[in-house]
């Protein structure tokens, strides 16, 4: 019984940890498929986390916070697009620049505006956070652990953004594989010259793909500061943006495998916090750091071609120039 409820709780934690990864990863799937390296997930999420927490703290509305988070993330994505698509700058350099600038800008603005040492105020008002939605009958269902606990913990009791992220997976898959826009995005990452010859603007497509990534990273960042926790703290993304990109690669730039990778990576995270200092049978205590490093090790193994093969969009990282 004890083990059962532990497993259910770990799985529920997995869903919560996976949410920001999934949102950012779905966004990156579009920008990367259009041929632009999206290393800036980290910065876009962090910027959105700050903006949403700050606006929510001032206005008392998590929804206004969400709007601010999305706007901030989109603004960063557009700066990125301006540098790399319009001016054909190095995509990796542009992303690192944004990540670093945002890592400094968040705490700087937070200190000046709220004077709390680089954080935003604690969000404890009734509408300042995206609270947990309790489904009908969930509290009562706990009385019958199987399947009541599954219902109460796994299906019910998450914030709206968790359900939104889950619903976005089929939407993203449909958009990428069943719409004209999706076909063009996939084509422009494989052969931009052909797309250009067909009279379709390569730059416009890449801007649109990066806009999608901006919106989704905005939601992901908002989730971090106004749903998963109650406010912005310094460096609160803590590498989640890079982990999300790893999930896209691990998911071979495809929606459902990417979902699987996000769940796997989130599960290792949830497991690591459960296993902290717990002695397991046979193997004893597994150091938490080893479990935490697992997603990164797996991604390297995949990129090395030892676990399946990851084939990136063909022209990823190469600025498109009409004149050549």
């Amino acid at each position: 019984m004890e083990t059962y409820s532990l497993i259910v709780l770990t799985l529920a934690a997995t869903l919560r940890v996976a949410t920001p990864l999934l949102l950012a990863a779905l966004g990156a799937m579009f920008s990367e498929r259009s041929g632009v390296i999206d290393l800036a997930l980290e910065g876009k999420m962090l910027g959105a986390a700050f903006a949403s927490a700050a606006v929510s703290a001032v206005t008392g509305s998590a929804w206004l916070g969400l709007g601010a988070g999305i706007l901030t993330s989109v603004a960063l994505a557009m700066i990125n697009a301006f540098a790399t698509v319009t001016h054909r700058g190095n995509q990796v350099v542009a992303c690192m620049a944004l990540n670093i600038a945002v890592a400094g800008l968040g705490p700087t603005l937070a200190l000046a505006w709220f004077n709390l040492g680089g954080q935003t105020p604690q969000l404890d008002g009734p509408d300042q956070r995206f609270g947990e939605l309790v489904w009908p009958g969930a509290p009562a269902a706990r009385a019958h652990p199987f399947p009541g606990l599954l219902y109460a913990e796994l299906l019910s009791g998450h914030s709206l953004i968790v359900y939104l992220a889950a619903a976005l997976v089929p939407v993203a898959a449909w958009a990428l594989y069943r719409t004209r826009f999706g076909l063009r995005v996939r084509a422009v990452g494989e052969n931009p010259l052909a797309v250009d010859t067909a009279g379709i603007s390569v730059a416009a497509l890449r801007y649109q793909a990066m806009l999608i990534s901006g919106v989704l990273c905005g939601v992901a960042g908002t989730y971090l500061s106004t749903a998963a926790s109650a406010g912005f703290v310094r460096d609160m993304t803590a590498g989640k943006g890079y982990l999300a990109l790893a999930a896209v690669i691990f998911g071979k730039w495809k929606p459902y495998p990417t979902l699987g990778a996000c769940l796997l990576f989130a599960f290792t995270d949830a497991l690591a916090s459960r296993l902290q200092g717990v002695a397991l049978p046979v193997v004893g205590v597994i150091p938490v750091q080893f479990i935490m490093a697992l997603p990164y090790v797996l991604t390297v193994l995949l990129l090395a071609g030892f676990v399946g093969q990851a084939v990136a969009p063909r022209v990823i990282g190469v600025p498109y120039s009409k004149e050549k």
């Binding site: 540098a83 350099v93 620049a97 968040g106 700087t108 890079y242 090790v297 084939v311």
Partner: protein
């Protein structure tokens, strides 16, 4: 880009970085003004905080030492067409190795410890760069992604080692015991005192000299040896390199080993020179500052030296600024760093094109570009197919 819009080489090497820096400082000044402080006053405080006193200069150059090592590391990889974002992890593992040498050889004299620590640090950094390099060379794994992953793996590994293995017994904070006196880098003020110059104590130490020596060696390697030539050819045109009988996979591995080795020397300054023990997260972002330094310094050791001193001054001046302006903290320096990378790296075409047009309008005929080794806008040579 059409051939008419080329910049003269001197402008590429000096004017563009300066314009980028000015643009970054202007935007930062806007942020400071937005926070309700005077940008001019902030700049004044930062300059005096970085160069106003002897110990301020010492601190600035001490930070610069770290950035010379990581900047050279990024630059060497850049010349081979590779983007090494893993300087942070390579510095971490290299520093671990230097630190372990200091802990193990505490009874040796300094002149014997120093080469051992340098070799260990370089070997540790090179080893951490080797796997991503090999995967790029042999299996086409994108080196940007693998080096980022290796940063996180290094961080997990070091946390594990410091919390569980290397920690000094009976203490809370995850750090080792202190290095013995004979394994510590001589401080600059001690060395200067020996030749009769008094200098206020600061963490500036012999590692600064080692960083300068490394800069000279990198220059000789890149521009005065066959290996350096092969490396630059591979970076500029892998197809031509193959045609000339150069093996790009071998060059990729060699360039990354050298790059990792340079980053691995960070521990010589940070641990042996200042902390005198292995502490958690000692690279503290220096690997990423290296990107900004290499971009601003146009991947040339001389440029890297000036850019590293500039960033050292920013770090030291930034701490001073946060004392004097309570509304501003040291994170402001990180903002400036990001903006410099944006302006000097990603957006340089924004300045290059109008500047070239200007030169074209006033300068008449401009000689065609020769070796534009400093160009950082090439995508990394990651072949993913």
């Amino acid at each position: 880009m059409s051939a008419a819009k080329q910049l003269p080489r001197w402008a590429d090497l000096t004017l563009l970085p300066v314009i980028g820096l000015v643009a970054a400082l202007l935007v930062s000044g806007g942020v400071i003004a937005l926070l309700g402080e005077s940008p001019a006053q902030a700049l004044k405080l930062m300059v005096s905080g970085a160069f106003g006193t002897q110990d301020a200069i010492g601190y600035s150059l001490y930070y610069a030492t770290n950035f010379i090592f990581t900047g050279l590391a990024v630059a060497v990889a850049f010349h081979a067409g590779l983007f090494n974002i893993g300087g942070e992890g390579q510095a971490y593992i290299g520093g671990l190795m230097s630190g372990l040498v200091c802990l193990a050889l505490g009874h040796w004299p300094f002149w014997a410890v120093l080469p051992a620590a340098v070799v260990a640090g370089a070997a540790g950094g090179a080893a951490w760069a080797f796997i991503p390099a090999w995967l790029q060379a042999k299996r086409g794994s994108h080196i940007v992604i693998t080096t980022i992953m290796f940063n996180f793996i290094a961080s997990s590994l070091m946390t594990y080692l410091l919390v569980n293995v290397l920690i000094k017994p009976g203490q809370q904070s995850p750090e080792t015991r202190e290095f013995s006196g004979s394994t510590v880098m001589p401080a600059a003020h001690e060395l200067l005192a020996r030749i009769g110059i008094t200098f206020t104590p600061s963490p500036l130490n012999l590692a600064f000299g080692l960083a300068l020596a490394a800069s000279v060696l990198v220059w000789i390697f890149l521009w005065r040896t066959r290996w350096g030539y092969e490396l630059r050819v591979t970076g500029q045109n892998p197809a031509a390199a193959v045609y000339a009988g150069i093996s790009p996979p071998r060059v990729i591995v060699a360039a990354m080993l050298l790059s990792g080795a340079l980053a691995g020397c960070l521990g010589l300054n940070e641990l042996m020179g200042s902390q005198h023990r292995i502490v958690i997260d000692f690279p503290a972002g220096a690997g990423f500052v290296g990107i900004a330094v290499a971009l601003m310094g146009r991947n040339h050791p001389v440029g890297i030296f000036f850019a590293a001193v500039l960033f050292g001054a920013l770090y030291q001046g930034g701490s001073q600024l946060s004392f004097d302006m309570p509304k501003i903290n040291r994170d402001m320096v990180v903002v400036i760093q990001g903006l410099v990378i944006l302006a000097c790296g990603a957006m340089e075409n924004l300045f290059r094109v109008p500047l070239a047009a200007l030169f074209g309008a006033f300068g008449g005929a401009v000689p065609p570009p020769r070796d534009r080794a400093g160009e950082g806008t090439r995508p990394p040579a990651g072949k993913q197919s």
